[in-house]
């Protein structure tokens, strides 16, 4: 409010300028989503509560689930063998449904480093890792991971020894991929719970490695 013959202009009561709203116009896909969702509710195909519940189910999935699977594989050689031979079956026995897709688990070792990408879209083991990170869906990652994986890995902070070979997996069809990271040294005898805390999302995509003991604190 103007007073004393002068105007504070666009200042908040605290004396700072108001920050402009960051609302952008809806994109085509956002409008489409709203239209389809409203139609589904209007026509009685699904209720708003059901849609909300499904969103919550999706949001509840997180890399913590994948980390538990990895920690089990580090602790139990039999489970690890099954996980590498038949990822879907191993997860089922562990209590995680991977649904229609087939889970393929690839192991990082002293000789091989695996890296996952989906150049066509954003295929990702959502049941184990939750929603993919934004960079995973971006063109820069999708084009560069298959062309200069060593450079991409270096940018993610993974310095590979020259004797380690790189295996990129382009997830183009019905497989979903999980990287079994290398177990950090000095973790002998750890419980699965402690081990799982070392397993990062990025280490299961292959753009990272499991936390070292120093990093884990």
């Amino acid at each position: 409010m103007p007073h004393d013959g002068h105007d504070h202009g666009p200042l908040s009561p605290s004396g700072h300028p108001y920050r402009p709203d960051q609302d952008a116009p809806l994109t085509h896909s956002q409008i489409l989503e709203i239209a389809v969702r409203e139609l589904l509710i209007e026509k009685g195909v699904a209720t708003a509560e059901e849609i909300q519940a499904q969103i919550e189910r999706m949001d509840a999935r997180s890399p913590a689930l994948g980390a538990r699977v990895v920690a089990r594989a580090w602790s139990d050689p039999e489970f690890k063998a099954l996980l590498l031979a038949d990822g879907s079956e191993a997860c089922r026995q562990f209590g995680v449904e991977v649904e229609a897709m087939k889970l393929l688990v690839v192991e990082n070792t002293d000789e091989v480093h695996n890296l996952i990408v989906c150049t066509l879209c954003s295929c990702y083991p959502r049941n184990l890792l939750g929603l993919p990170p934004d960079w995973y869906k971006q063109r820069a990652y999708r084009t560069r991971a298959v062309r200069e994986p060593r450079t991409v890995l270096a940018e993610f902070g993974v310095a590979l020894a020259p004797e380690v070979s790189v295996r990129v997996h382009d997830s183009t069809a019905d497989m979903r991929y999980l990287v079994l990271p290398r177990r950090p040294d000095g973790t002998e005898g750890w419980t699965e719970e402690r081990l799982a805390a070392l397993v990062t999302r990025d280490s299961m995509i292959g753009v990272g490695v499991a936390r070292t003991l120093e990093a884990a604190g």
Partner: protein
């Protein structure tokens, strides 16, 4: 297509289900550019790789995309390519660095290795005076 029967006589059904390639087969990805929904990345078309494994049988996504049943199910392969072969002309690739891609059988053709590429072979023949280059 929608009016066609979605079954095959047993013999053809069995033929369609039997994978044409096995682990270790050398294959070339077709270099076609069909319209519609395709799940073969552009950058591997025409490239030669090796079957890493048969990943199972799946309904054809090129058909599923148009609400057809995609049957009979197709063998799906994981084919391994050397990065060096994919990005030919770019120096600095470690020969051991590879890329695995999932590909449906209809996208693969057998690759017969004549001991090197044709151009090199033609040059060699020319040098030997074979005269087959033309």
């Amino acid at each position: 297509m929608s009016g066609a029967p979605n079954f095959l006589p047993p013999y053809w059904e069995a033929q369609a289900a039997r994978p044409r390639f096995s682990m270790g087969s050398k294959v070339r990805v077709r270099s076609g550019a069909p319209l519609g929904h395709v799940r073969t990345p552009w950058y591997i078309r025409g490239k030669v790789g090796v079957v890493e494994r048969i990943a199972g049988h799946f309904a054809d996504p090129q058909e599923l995309a148009y609400r057809r049943d995609g049957l009979p199910k197709q063998p799906l392969y994981r084919v391994r390519f050397a990065l060096e072969d994919l990005w030919s002309g770019e120096a600095g690739y470690d020969r051991r660095d590879t890329l695995d891609v999932e590909l449906y059988e209809s996208w693969l053709e057998p690759f017969w290795d004549y001991g090197g590429d044709f151009e090199a072979q033609a040059k060699r023949l020319e040098a030997e005076g074979g005269g087959h280059a033309a």
